[in-house]
Homo-oligomer: 230 residues x 2
Amino acid sequence: MRNMNSTDTSSRGEQTRHALIDAALKVFGQAGFDAASTRSISKAANVNQALIGYHFGGKRGLYLAVFGHILSQITEHMAPVIVTVSDRVEGFSEDVEMRRQEALEVLIVAFNGLIEMFGRADSAAWVRLIVREQQDPTDAFEILYEGMMGRMMNMMTMLVSLASDLPEDSEACRVRTHMLVGQVLLFHIARGTTSRHLSWSGLSPDNINTLKEQFRLSVEAQFAPGAAFQ
Amino acid sequence: MRNMNSTDTSSRGEQTRHALIDAALKVFGQAGFDAASTRSISKAANVNQALIGYHFGGKRGLYLAVFGHILSQITEHMAPVIVTVSDRVEGFSEDVEMRRQEALEVLIVAFNGLIEMFGRADSAAWVRLIVREQQDPTDAFEILYEGMMGRMMNMMTMLVSLASDLPEDSEACRVRTHMLVGQVLLFHIARGTTSRHLSWSGLSPDNINTLKEQFRLSVEAQFAPGAAFQ
DNA sequence: CATTATTAATCAAACGATTAACTTAGTCAA
DNA sequence: TTGACTAAGTTAATCGTTTGATTAATAATG
């Protein structure tokens, strides 16, 4: 019964699928998987409820399709960042101290890409979905991690290793990388506390700039030549 | 037949309420508010389903009661930490440099308290609930923030201010404080990524110690006398 | 004219809430 | 000590809704 036509990208069915994924992204993000009803999603997409079953096999199938969409969004945004990082890493100096400084710069570039991606207005919906999946990951999270997030974490870890004296595969290096990610992501994850403690409503471009600036100061201090990094 | 005290805290009803809150904490934490059914909660509590309505007015009332319970747990754990901090702050030196060093030490003590609290085995259930509430806070989150979390954030901000040159009410100071919290909390919030990137399953006492150690190194570098703070 | 897509209607299951009957426990007059 | 009386607590059953899924009939497409 169900059929995924991949040649007609703007066929009738394709439009419906797109409308459903778009609406589902918002409704799932707002309410979570269980609280979101297929009826509210189909209504938001201006589409008959039975079409969810027809095109995606069911509610769960639509949910997974949403994560496929998120993955493509993230990939699209981070691809140029990854290319930039790869290019610059190849040209790193032989000198240890110079290379540390270069790696530090690239590390900040990479994290700025992360901050900007999560700062985009339309990312708010899928940040919620990702956070929910983090709690007890399912197949949906697997799509993201295998597709992109794992790669990004490894890239960040490599840069941290180059910018410090920590071996790339050491636990300390991975923990410190994780902490850097935490410094950035909590502003998006813990909106409840963020909005109250900082009196920020949402994350304006100004707020994003403040974030990038303070993160840079923090990282430069942590990776300063004299810093006790072991 | 007059053994039972009339002002007792372990009357029949009180036992039922406790059993329900205990079970609800687990089920709500596991599945979230919507996916958790009153039937599954009452079954886990070995109690009739109608008693949720009788004792708490309904599902939502039980949910709020669970957050009241969480608040008391957090308060219980953090109270001694807050006392310690308050005491030591009062005895801080007049000398600026010495005070910075003292504040840094106390800051680490305070954060270690935070790390230990979230590291407790039984905290996993309510960490999930808090994270869920962070996304779009309701009355339930208000209970936590007004009751404890706001106070703690302000305390941390004060310590950051004393350990740096940042004014306590400056945006930079609050942002940096928030980043420190993020360094610690992401390990509990983003379990999906944590477990994959670090090959940690759950958070063992060893992992907690690693966390404290690496956090201390990070903070000492960030607050080193030479660090460019602001 | 056959494939693809859409529609309204309907299904059984699960949901939160509520009811009325029933049990337990503490109070107090006799 | 007893036993009727009352309030608090508990129980099984049922209420009306909403849920995700599925059906058969219809429409659009190329």
